[in-house]
């Protein structure tokens, strides 16, 4: 037989089934929120690095002009080298439709059967491609619409368009997802490269260091020592690239995103805890008389506390049974979704024990912790306070300043006034309810604001570019020739060509940074407005002045406006003076310098390699196609071409995933708020049963009672909206900054959306009305005699 105390706990829960279900749901939502994100977090962080590390990623890539087998063997024999492999990457173009081309990075592989560094894996079709055959990476397939069995038309910088048979699909976990970047990856042999019209050589020496393979500084030192040694052996190293060691290219981005989502999961859990506190307060208020009776028959305060803490633990356990598996399922789905998005494979979806433990601990402790205050308060009531009702209640309506203030409000209808004053009768309960609903609203408005901030920032940045198509030539070409080829194309309104090359930053220790662009526009260009975020833009008399874009600033954090920096340009180290920083979304790390000075230094007067084209009319895609047709028969040697509208769309698509999850979290939190309001309204109705009976007895219709309760609920909703509006401002500012930093390396413009505010007001009124409807209906349905007899 159950002990009377446990029997009471269980039967109380059963007797108040609706409330029990509400509390269980509230806690379950919190556990679900935390659990799903923790599950995804634990799987993704483990699998992304596992995927990446299993490829045996290169510690550094050295570009060598006269690479041969002897060198490879000798480097491999060095004690500081764990692995060495040669490769070549040729950025080319692949046809996706008539006069439609996309970028494809072709990797020339020496031996498909003996991949050692930056390994990739067969997915479908054949593995070892023959001459005239190509393997495609899976993440870029949707960009080029090709698959096994198709024929791809590929054009390398020096070759002519050549058909290659697609014989297999591979997975290369080390590459940024092709669909996200808007390009594809292909894998060919050296013979196929010859077929494509390129010279047959390898120029990349990919090395894996044997010690401290996760320390970028050590790797850089080792790589430069290797370079020095190679140069003594007669080889020329033109470039050294050290990728962030041990981490997938998107590791940081993914972790930051998951961290932000986790914060919302925790918020949902805390709010569900607040809701539990509200509901337990309701339970305690309802059970006061029973507490008095139990104390009268010998119960001590801690025994009473024990009864109600047990109640919370039972509710928490029930919520765990729902929230934990649901969180696990959704977390795994989300992990799978993210893995697909970031192009890696989840080999093991096991969730570590700590994730279960955290959920169990949170599911049991947070409700208990939040409920402890109302439980202790309720349990401390003396028998007399609990059982008897003496004199005047010092907390009854009318005794506080806010009550007196409310009583002065006139001019509203009697029913509205009654609802308004009722709203403030239980101020502690009101505060908790309003806060819970407001938290949902703040996150929701934050999500809408973030969407708008993203749109505004991206659109603003693209609006600064008064061109529609950008192209890069494989070699500098006379500006006049560029004009002759492009300007006559139908729909081309304006052509401007800039100088461009690749440079690297020379550090104090003599080592170099990875390559980045040096772009040289005319300083008075009007085809693009530069958004200066610090310092100034270039001026006509500038010589060695350089303006750094935010992407480069993000990579090379030691650079400040006013600094003198040394750049390696065409093998010569030259000093440049940093005069400003600009924000430029969607661009590679770039240093902008004056065209005139650049041309003088490089001997490229009158030449250009980067071309901006603005189109007339509203269909730049058509102009792009015509331009492609014109370029195909020209001698310009186009290396890459991109249409701005396509890259802009890709940018806007990046935020969709984040928006979806923020909105889901907001709705989750709002659901908790709605449950809280329903609980509050039910309790308010319960407490005022006698008042309702009196109103009914003196002539109030059922509709009137319904109206009073509904209006009170809506008042609470509107109050929460006001608070949500205030809370949404810092939330918006923070998530705009944070998500901007994650995806764009720069904060987004902070935008407060009137639409978001209005939408949430509508939602919260609907939620409030819906949450109040059941309690209101209950109140209006009760017969007068039963209400008045209510004890």
């Amino acid at each position: 037989m159950l002990s009377p105390r446990l029997a009471k706990t269980l039967r109380d829960l059963w007797a108040n089934k609706a409330r029990t279900v509400l509390v269980i749901l509230a806690i379950a939502i919190g556990i679900f929120g935390v659990g799903s994100i923790l599950t995804a977090y634990s799987i993704l962080t483990r699998e992304i690095d596992r995927n990446y590390m299993e490829t045996n990623p290169a510690s550094a890539v050295l570009t060598v002009t006269n690479l041969d087998e002897t060198l490879v063997e000798r480097v491999q024999a060095r004690p500081d080298m764990a692995d060495v492999e040669v490769r070549r990457m040729v950025t080319s173009r692949i046809q996706t439709g008539e006069n439609e081309w996309r970028t494809i990075h072709l990797f020339v592989i020496d031996d498909f059967d003996n991949l050692r560094v930056n390994q990739f894996y067969p997915e479908r079709g054949e593995w070892n491609p023959g001459t005239g055959e190509i393997l495609l990476e899976r993440s870029g397939l949707q960009v080029i619409n090709d698959d096994v069995g198709d024929t791809a038309l590929v054009k390398t910088p020096n070759g002519t368009p050549t058909e290659l048979a697609v014989t297999g699909i591979v997975h290369d976990p080390g590459q940024a997802p092709g669909w996200m970047e808007g390009w594809a990856y292909g894998y060919i042999t050296l013979d196929t490269l010859i077929l494509l019209g390129e010279e047959p050589f390898y120029d990349e020496l990919r090395i894996v260091v044997s010690e401290n393979a996760t320390n970028a500084d050590t790797i850089r030192t080792t790589a430069f020592e290797l370079r020095d040694w190679m140069q003594t052996q007669g080889y020329t190293v033109t470039q050294i690239n050290v990728p962030p060691p041990g981490e997938h290219p998107h590791h940081g981005q993914m972790q930051s995103l998951l961290f932000m989502l986790e914060a919302f999961g925790v918020l949902a859990l805390i709010l569900s805890g607040v809701l539990v506190a509200t509901m337990i307060s309701a339970v305690m208020a309802q059970q006061l008389r029973q507490i008095g009776v139990m104390k009268a028959v010998g119960a001590r305060t801690r025994q009473i506390i024990g009864i109600y803490l047990n109640t919370v633990l039972i509710l928490g356990t029930a919520a765990l049974l729902i929230g934990l598996p649901a969180g696990l399922i959704v977390g795994r789905l989300y992990a799978g979704f993210t893995a697909d998005m970031l192009n890696f494979t989840i080999q093991d979806s096991t969730v570590p024990y700590w994730v279960y433990l955290v959920q169990i601990a949170a599911g049991l402790s947070i409700p208990a912790l939040t409920a402890i205050y109302p439980i202790v308060q309720g349990s401390r009531y003396t028998v007399r306070e609990a059982v008897n009702d003496y004199g005047v209640n010092p907390n009854q309506f009318g005794s506080r300043p806010v009550d007196r203030l409310l009583s002065r409000i006139q001019g509203l209808g009697r029913i509205t006034l009654l609802s308004l004053r009722n709203t403030f009768r239980r101020q502690g309960r009101l505060t908790l309810t309003v806060f819970t609903l407001a938290a949902g609203g703040a996150v929701f408005m934050g999500a809408v604001n973030l969407y708008n901030a993203w749109q505004t920032t991206v659109s603003g940045s693209y609006d600064n570019r008064h061109y529609d198509i950008e192209l890069w030539l494989k070699e500098p070409v006379e500006q006049q020739r560029i004009e002759e080829v492009i300007a006559p194309v139908e729909g081309v309104a304006r052509v401007e060509s800039w100088g461009q090359t690749e440079v690297s930053l020379v550090y104090e220790d003599g080592t170099n940074s990875n390559l980045f662009n040096m772009t040289a526009p005319p300083v008075d260009t009007t085809i693009m407005d530069f958004e200066v975020i610090e310092g100034r833009w270039l001026e006509p008399n500038d010589t060695n002045a350089v303006v750094i874009n935010h992407t480069l600033e993000h990579e090379e954090t030691s650079i400040h406006v006013g600094d003198d920096i040394v750049l390696n340009l065409d093998g010569e180290a030259r000093t440049w003076h940093v005069v400003g920083f600009i924000r430029e979304l969607g661009s590679f790390p770039t240093a902008y310098v004056s065209y005139d000075y650049f041309a003088t230094l490089t001997g490229q007067e009158g030449l250009a390699q980067n071309v901006k084209v603005s189109a007339s009319g509203n269909d730049p895609a058509k102009v792009t196609q015509r331009l492609e047709a014109a370029l195909a028969t020209s001698d310009l040697g186009v290396y890459q071409l991109r249409e701005l509208a396509v890259t802009k769309k890709s940018f806007l698509d990046h935020i969709v995933v984040l928006m979806t999850f923020l909105t889901a979290m907001a709705l989750l939190v709002a659901a908790v708020g709605g449950l809280g309001l329903m609980s509050t309204m039910s309790l308010n109705v319960l407490e005022r049963m006698r008042e309702i009976g009196i109103m009914r007895a003196i002539g109030a219709s059922m509709d009137r009672i319904l109206q009073i309760v509904l209006v009170e609920g809506i008042f609470i909703g509107i109050l929460s909206w006001g608070l949500a509006l205030l809370l949404s401002m810092p939330i918006t500012a923070q998530i705009s900054k944070f998500s901007g930093e994650i995806f764009l390396q720069t904060g987004l413009d902070t935008v407060y959306s009137l639409f978001g505010m209005g939408l949430w007001l509508a939602i919260v009124i609907l939620v409030s009305a819906a949450a109040s409807l059941y309690p209101a209906w209950q109140a209006s349905e009760l017969p007068v005699n039963e209400i008045l007899a209510y004890e």
């Binding site: 002990s3 009471k8 139990m294 009268a296 010998g298 007399r384 059982v387 008897n388 010092p394």
Partner: protein, 255 residues
Amino acid sequence: MSKKNGKQAPAFSNSEHALIDLRQVTKTYQGAAGSFTALKGVDLQIARGEFVAIIGKSGSGKTTLLNMITGIDRATAGAVTIAGTAVHELNEDMIAVWRGKTVGVVFQFFQLLPTLTVVENVMLPMDFCNTYPTRQRKIRALELLERVGVADQANKLPATLSGGQQQRVAIARALANDPPFIVADEPTGNLDTQTSDMVLALFTTLINEDKTVLIVTHERDISARVTRTVTLIDGRIAEDRSKKPAETIKEGIYA
């Protein structure tokens, strides 16, 4: 001092032998509208085996007096000593345990816990005060229910019982820890005449078992059943009248 079966119940208790001893007890309540003194320097001594009715109009202070005796409320001034324990010196938890073992409380509205069955309600005080071994609690609860005549209702929930049956369960619950005295606040206030008589007869049998029973009521006609009637008016004892023991016992037996 009384002897077993109440055969020699005293006409007036003296303080040295009193089970209940109230000295100059004053109780003042503070409210938003000002203070209100419910008891004004009450002196009252009740001996073991007495069956006392405290009567008075609504607001006379009788429930307050009962609350002082049960430790449900604390005196603003004065001393409350019950069975040698200075109740006013105990903290809330000590009072709860003391009350559970020493006082059986019966309320006007029965106050059975609605989600516990009848037998579980009776077991509850034993559970809280740990007074009987776990296995014996149900046996004792059933015995008590048998004694008050509702053993056949043991496994039902209180809501399915009549008012009289619920009050008898409440009395069984009050007896659960075998306390020396029982207090009842308007125990018949919600019952019809016939059921009231049954409940009062039950109290009378308790007197015969050396229990002390204290009833608060506004019904003057209850005085016929009790050994002593204390009348309160405006927080003061206006009258304290005892009856001959034999007369009372006879009424109790044949009620």
